[in-house]
């Protein structure tokens, strides 16, 4: 013997399955195709990894060039940033370093 929930489920499932299916005509098909044609070619989704990859490779030569230029500049200009920083805090920075500044 079936319990109440099974009976209810069977009755409702039958009602659900017996629901009339709508049949479309030529007019509906023509309307959908008209809408489809107005949309044009479906657009491919944006591939972010490909976009990123392209950007990285395009920027690579510029990055390499920048590294070379900065390296050459550092060697030729004999720039000592530590001296410059110390000079802003000490009147006689010749013997001083940034490390000494922090130590007090």
């Amino acid at each position: 013997m079936k319990d109440n929930t099974t009976k209810i489920r069977e009755a409702l499932s039958t009602a659900y399955r017996e629901k009339d299916t709508v049949h479309t005509g030529d007019l509906w098909e023509t309307r959908v195709m008209g809408h489809i044609r107005s949309l044009g070619v479906p657009a491919s989704p944006a591939n972010f990894s490909a976009l990123f990859g392209g950007f990285v490779w395009r920027a690579a030569p510029v990055a390499c060039l920048l590294i070379v230029v900065l390296s050459v500049a550092l060697v030729t200009l004999d720039y000592t940033p530590e001296y410059e920083i110390t000079a802003t805090f000490m009147t006689d920075p010749i013997e001083g370093t940034v490390e000494q500044l922090w130590r007090g």
Binding site: T14, A15, H23, T24, W28, E29, L39
Partner: protein, 200 residues
Amino acid sequence: MHNTSSKLSDREIIQRIIEGDADAFAQILTKYKDHVMGIVSRHVPYDQAEETAHDVFIRAYQSLPTFKQKSEFRHWLSSIAVRTCHDFWRRRYRSKEVPMSSLTQQHQEWLENVISDTSDRAFGEHRSRKDAREVLDWALAKLSAEDRMVLELVYLEGLTAKEAAKLLGWTTANVKVRSFRSRKKLHKLLSGPIGKGMIQ
């Protein structure tokens, strides 16, 4: 020309559409309109089925470039159809367009008859399509769009949680939890008119 193109496989037709031949979509439409209409007719009201099926094919057309050729097109389209129906109900509930009818004495009698009958034969005789459909519509209107879709797919159509999850694009665990809760809600709703304890 038409005979030759009608022999093309789904994959070949899709390729042609992606390459710019929008007219090739007519073959997809003719081939799958009954399948889509079958799904949509079960989930949305009769007078909204054509419009919803229209939306399904528009969404399918726009999503064609994302279709993975490894999967079957029919399943992919079914998934779009079910999700479009889900969206339909979400919109409906949000705009509060879902009719909140009440159960009549006739509906309550139908429920009582279904429960009181002990033999399958008598049970079959008592089944009134119209009453059953109205009771079902009344109960479904009181659930959320998510509960409604899960209940229809799992409880009424008899799909497994995994199959329903694939169609809805949810996790299987989510479908199982929602299915359990929505079934409880449905039984609670139906036990109201005919007395507590009748449906557990």
